[in-house]
Amino acid sequence: MTQTDPKLVRDWTPAIAERDEAFVLSVMARVAERRALRRSARRVTVLVAAAGAIGLLVPYAAGWLDAADTLQVFVVAFSLAAVIFAITASRALNFARH
Protein backbone atom coordinates (compact mmCIF):
# COMPACT_ATOMS: atom_id res chain seq x y z
CA MET A 1 0.00 0.00 0.00
CA THR A 2 1.42 3.38 -0.91
CA GLN A 3 1.35 6.37 1.45
CA THR A 4 -1.78 7.73 -0.24
CA ASP A 5 -3.72 4.84 -1.54
CA PRO A 6 -6.09 6.00 -4.33
CA LYS A 7 -8.16 2.85 -3.97
CA LEU A 8 -8.58 3.51 -0.28
CA VAL A 9 -9.49 7.16 -0.87
CA ARG A 10 -12.14 6.11 -3.37
CA ASP A 11 -13.55 3.23 -1.41
CA TRP A 12 -13.47 4.46 2.14
CA THR A 13 -15.70 7.50 1.73
CA PRO A 14 -17.07 7.95 -1.74
CA ALA A 15 -19.43 10.63 -2.99
CA ILE A 16 -17.81 13.77 -1.58
CA ALA A 17 -17.91 16.05 -4.56
CA GLU A 18 -14.75 17.99 -5.40
CA ARG A 19 -17.05 20.93 -6.08
CA ASP A 20 -20.08 21.35 -3.86
CA GLU A 21 -21.61 24.80 -4.18
CA ALA A 22 -24.47 23.93 -1.79
CA PHE A 23 -21.98 23.26 0.99
CA VAL A 24 -20.01 26.44 0.22
CA LEU A 25 -23.24 28.48 0.24
CA SER A 26 -24.35 27.06 3.57
CA VAL A 27 -20.97 27.85 5.14
CA MET A 28 -21.07 31.39 3.76
CA ALA A 29 -24.64 31.85 5.06
CA ARG A 30 -23.41 30.95 8.55
CA VAL A 31 -20.47 33.31 8.17
CA ALA A 32 -22.82 36.14 7.14
CA GLU A 33 -25.10 35.34 10.09
CA ARG A 34 -22.17 35.49 12.51
CA ARG A 35 -20.95 38.74 10.94
CA ALA A 36 -24.36 40.35 11.38
CA LEU A 37 -24.49 39.14 14.97
CA ARG A 38 -21.07 40.64 15.71
CA ARG A 39 -22.00 43.92 14.07
CA SER A 40 -25.20 44.27 16.10
CA ALA A 41 -23.40 43.29 19.32
CA ARG A 42 -20.82 46.01 18.62
CA ARG A 43 -23.59 48.54 18.01
CA VAL A 44 -25.38 47.62 21.24
CA THR A 45 -22.11 47.86 23.20
CA VAL A 46 -21.41 51.35 21.84
CA LEU A 47 -24.97 52.49 22.59
CA VAL A 48 -24.92 51.12 26.15
CA ALA A 49 -21.49 52.63 26.82
CA ALA A 50 -22.65 56.02 25.50
CA ALA A 51 -25.85 55.90 27.56
CA GLY A 52 -23.86 54.90 30.66
CA ALA A 53 -21.35 57.71 30.17
CA ILE A 54 -24.11 60.29 29.75
CA GLY A 55 -25.99 58.82 32.73
CA LEU A 56 -22.91 59.31 34.88
CA LEU A 57 -21.55 62.56 33.53
CA VAL A 58 -24.83 64.52 33.63
CA PRO A 59 -25.47 64.01 37.40
CA TYR A 60 -21.77 64.68 38.09
CA ALA A 61 -21.75 67.85 35.99
CA ALA A 62 -25.01 69.01 37.57
CA GLY A 63 -23.47 68.55 41.00
CA TRP A 64 -25.96 65.88 42.16
CA LEU A 65 -23.08 63.41 42.71
CA ASP A 66 -19.55 64.05 44.00
CA ALA A 67 -16.48 62.29 42.51
CA ALA A 68 -16.49 59.40 45.02
CA ASP A 69 -20.20 58.67 44.45
CA THR A 70 -19.71 58.88 40.68
CA LEU A 71 -16.86 56.36 40.91
CA GLN A 72 -18.99 54.02 43.02
CA VAL A 73 -21.91 54.23 40.58
CA PHE A 74 -19.47 53.64 37.71
CA VAL A 75 -18.04 50.49 39.36
CA VAL A 76 -21.50 49.06 40.09
CA ALA A 77 -22.79 49.90 36.58
CA PHE A 78 -19.65 48.48 34.94
CA SER A 79 -19.93 45.20 36.90
CA LEU A 80 -23.63 44.89 36.02
CA ALA A 81 -22.89 45.60 32.36
CA ALA A 82 -20.12 42.97 32.32
CA VAL A 83 -22.45 40.32 33.78
CA ILE A 84 -25.25 41.19 31.34
CA PHE A 85 -22.79 41.20 28.43
CA ALA A 86 -21.39 37.78 29.41
CA ILE A 87 -24.87 36.23 29.66
CA THR A 88 -26.05 37.81 26.40
CA ALA A 89 -22.88 36.81 24.54
CA SER A 90 -23.04 33.19 25.68
CA ARG A 91 -26.73 32.97 24.74
CA ALA A 92 -26.04 34.55 21.36
CA LEU A 93 -23.19 32.14 20.73
CA ASN A 94 -25.35 29.16 21.68
CA PHE A 95 -28.09 30.45 19.41
CA ALA A 96 -25.64 30.96 16.55
CA ARG A 97 -24.29 27.45 16.99
CA HIS A 98 -27.71 25.92 16.27
Partner: protein, 180 residues
Protein backbone atom coordinates in the same frame (compact mmCIF):
# COMPACT_ATOMS: atom_id res chain seq x y z
CA UNK B 1 6.38 28.65 -3.98
CA UNK B 2 3.93 27.12 -6.45
CA UNK B 3 1.22 29.14 -8.15
CA UNK B 4 -1.45 27.37 -6.08
CA UNK B 5 0.31 28.18 -2.81
CA UNK B 6 0.79 31.81 -3.85
CA UNK B 7 -2.86 32.05 -4.88
CA UNK B 8 -3.89 30.52 -1.55
CA UNK B 9 -1.80 33.07 0.37
CA UNK B 10 -3.47 35.86 -1.59
CA UNK B 11 -6.89 34.44 -0.77
CA UNK B 12 -6.02 34.14 2.93
CA UNK B 13 -4.78 37.74 3.02
CA UNK B 14 -7.94 38.94 1.28
CA UNK B 15 -10.18 36.90 3.60
CA UNK B 16 -8.36 38.39 6.60
CA UNK B 17 -9.26 41.80 5.26
CA UNK B 18 -12.90 40.79 5.25
CA UNK B 19 -13.41 39.48 1.71
CA UNK B 20 -16.25 36.95 1.73
CA UNK B 21 -15.50 35.98 -1.87
CA UNK B 22 -11.92 35.06 -0.95
CA UNK B 23 -13.08 32.99 2.01
CA UNK B 24 -15.69 31.27 -0.18
CA UNK B 25 -12.89 30.36 -2.59
CA UNK B 26 -10.92 28.86 0.29
CA UNK B 27 -13.97 26.87 1.43
CA UNK B 28 -14.52 25.72 -2.16
CA UNK B 29 -10.91 24.55 -2.43
CA UNK B 30 -10.76 22.71 0.90
CA UNK B 31 -14.29 21.44 1.60
CA UNK B 32 -13.62 18.11 -0.08
CA UNK B 33 -10.57 17.42 2.05
CA UNK B 34 -12.06 18.57 5.38
CA UNK B 35 -15.35 16.73 4.87
CA UNK B 36 -13.51 13.62 3.72
CA UNK B 37 -11.27 13.70 6.78
CA UNK B 38 -14.21 14.18 9.15
CA UNK B 39 -16.29 11.50 7.49
CA UNK B 40 -13.48 8.99 7.64
CA UNK B 41 -12.60 9.91 11.24
CA UNK B 42 -16.18 9.98 12.55
CA UNK B 43 -17.79 7.33 10.33
CA UNK B 44 -20.92 9.47 10.00
CA UNK B 45 -21.59 11.69 7.00
CA UNK B 46 -24.24 13.91 8.61
CA UNK B 47 -22.05 14.64 11.63
CA UNK B 48 -19.06 15.13 9.36
CA UNK B 49 -20.82 17.79 7.25
CA UNK B 50 -22.10 19.57 10.34
CA UNK B 51 -18.62 19.56 11.88
CA UNK B 52 -17.11 20.72 8.61
CA UNK B 53 -19.43 23.75 8.61
CA UNK B 54 -18.41 24.53 12.19
CA UNK B 55 -14.77 24.07 11.22
CA UNK B 56 -15.00 26.64 8.42
CA UNK B 57 -16.94 29.04 10.65
CA UNK B 58 -14.20 28.79 13.31
CA UNK B 59 -11.57 29.21 10.61
CA UNK B 60 -13.26 32.42 9.51
CA UNK B 61 -13.35 33.72 13.09
CA UNK B 62 -9.75 32.70 13.84
CA UNK B 63 -8.19 33.54 10.49
CA UNK B 64 -6.03 36.24 12.10
CA UNK B 65 -4.44 33.59 14.32
CA UNK B 66 -3.28 31.49 11.35
CA UNK B 67 0.47 32.11 11.18
CA UNK B 68 1.07 30.24 7.90
CA UNK B 69 3.68 27.98 9.54
CA UNK B 70 1.70 24.93 8.46
CA UNK B 71 -0.29 24.36 5.28
CA UNK B 72 -3.77 25.88 5.39
CA UNK B 73 -5.22 22.38 4.98
CA UNK B 74 -3.28 21.21 8.05
CA UNK B 75 -4.60 24.14 10.07
CA UNK B 76 -8.16 23.38 8.95
CA UNK B 77 -7.83 19.70 9.84
CA UNK B 78 -6.45 20.67 13.26
CA UNK B 79 -9.61 22.72 13.88
CA UNK B 80 -11.76 19.91 12.47
CA UNK B 81 -10.14 17.34 14.76
CA UNK B 82 -10.71 19.54 17.83
CA UNK B 83 -14.35 19.95 16.80
CA UNK B 84 -14.68 16.20 16.39
CA UNK B 85 -13.22 15.51 19.84
CA UNK B 86 -15.46 18.16 21.41
CA UNK B 87 -18.51 16.66 19.71
CA UNK B 88 -17.61 13.19 20.96
CA UNK B 89 -17.08 14.48 24.48
CA UNK B 90 -20.36 16.35 24.30
CA UNK B 91 -22.12 13.15 25.17
CA UNK B 92 -24.57 10.41 24.71
CA UNK B 93 -26.89 12.12 22.24
CA UNK B 94 -24.36 12.31 19.44
CA UNK B 95 -23.01 8.86 20.32
CA UNK B 96 -26.48 7.39 19.87
CA UNK B 97 -26.82 9.16 16.52
CA UNK B 98 -23.43 7.83 15.47
CA UNK B 99 -24.35 4.27 16.43
CA UNK B 100 -27.55 4.56 14.40
CA UNK B 101 -25.59 5.86 11.44
CA UNK B 102 -22.98 3.15 11.91
CA UNK B 103 -25.69 0.52 11.74
CA UNK B 104 -27.05 2.23 8.65
CA UNK B 105 -23.59 2.25 7.07
CA UNK B 106 -22.74 -1.35 7.88
CA UNK B 107 -26.24 -2.49 6.96
CA UNK B 108 -26.61 -0.86 3.60
CA UNK B 109 -24.12 1.80 2.65
CA UNK B 110 -25.73 4.04 0.06
CA UNK B 111 -24.21 3.10 -3.23
CA UNK B 112 -21.68 1.02 -1.32
CA UNK B 113 -19.47 -1.72 -2.67
CA UNK B 114 -18.32 -4.80 -0.75
CA UNK B 115 -14.82 -3.35 -0.62
CA UNK B 116 -16.14 -0.11 0.82
CA UNK B 117 -17.96 -2.01 3.55
CA UNK B 118 -14.81 -3.97 4.31
CA UNK B 119 -12.77 -0.79 4.65
CA UNK B 120 -15.49 0.65 6.89
CA UNK B 121 -15.51 -2.48 9.04
CA UNK B 122 -11.73 -2.47 9.21
CA UNK B 123 -11.58 1.05 10.62
CA UNK B 124 -14.58 0.69 12.93
CA UNK B 125 -12.43 -1.16 15.44
CA UNK B 126 -9.87 1.64 15.59
CA UNK B 127 -9.88 4.59 18.00
CA UNK B 128 -10.82 8.08 16.74
CA UNK B 129 -7.16 9.07 16.91
CA UNK B 130 -6.10 6.07 14.83
CA UNK B 131 -8.89 6.65 12.31
CA UNK B 132 -7.91 10.30 12.05
CA UNK B 133 -4.29 9.36 11.42
CA UNK B 134 -5.36 6.87 8.75
CA UNK B 135 -7.70 9.43 7.19
CA UNK B 136 -4.89 11.98 6.92
CA UNK B 137 -1.86 9.82 6.11
CA UNK B 138 -3.36 6.93 4.14
CA UNK B 139 -6.41 8.43 2.50
CA UNK B 140 -5.23 11.99 2.03
CA UNK B 141 -2.01 13.73 1.06
CA UNK B 142 -0.74 14.61 4.54
CA UNK B 143 2.78 13.71 5.63
CA UNK B 144 3.17 12.04 9.00
CA UNK B 145 4.61 15.20 10.55
CA UNK B 146 1.71 17.26 9.17
CA UNK B 147 -0.73 14.75 10.66
CA UNK B 148 1.10 15.00 14.00
CA UNK B 149 0.78 18.79 13.88
CA UNK B 150 -2.90 18.68 12.89
CA UNK B 151 -3.87 16.17 15.58
CA UNK B 152 -1.55 17.53 18.25
CA UNK B 153 0.11 14.17 18.93
CA UNK B 154 3.79 13.10 18.81
CA UNK B 155 5.25 11.96 15.49
CA UNK B 156 6.14 8.57 17.00
CA UNK B 157 2.49 7.99 17.89
CA UNK B 158 1.46 8.87 14.33
CA UNK B 159 4.00 6.38 12.95
CA UNK B 160 2.75 3.58 15.18
CA UNK B 161 -0.89 4.39 14.32
CA UNK B 162 -0.07 4.35 10.60
CA UNK B 163 1.63 0.97 10.94
CA UNK B 164 -1.31 -0.45 12.88
CA UNK B 165 -3.90 0.95 10.45
CA UNK B 166 -1.96 -0.38 7.46
CA UNK B 167 -1.76 -3.81 9.03
CA UNK B 168 -5.48 -3.81 9.78
CA UNK B 169 -6.46 -2.59 6.34
CA UNK B 170 -4.10 -5.06 4.69
CA UNK B 171 -5.80 -7.88 6.62
CA UNK B 172 -9.28 -6.78 5.53
CA UNK B 173 -8.37 -5.84 1.98
CA UNK B 174 -6.33 -9.03 1.67
CA UNK B 175 -9.38 -11.03 2.66
CA UNK B 176 -11.38 -9.10 0.08
CA UNK B 177 -8.80 -9.67 -2.66
CA UNK B 178 -8.57 -13.38 -1.79
CA UNK B 179 -12.35 -13.69 -1.96
CA UNK B 180 -12.51 -11.94 -5.35
Amino acid sequence: MTDDAARERELIAAARNGSSAAFAALVRAHQHRVRGFLWRASGNQADADDLAQETFLSAWLQLRNYRQEARFATWLCAIAYRKLLMRRRAGARSRLREEAAGEEMSGAAPGGSDLRLDVQRAVEGLSVEQRSVAALCLASDFSQSEAAAALGIPLGTVKSHVARCRERLREFLGEYNDAN
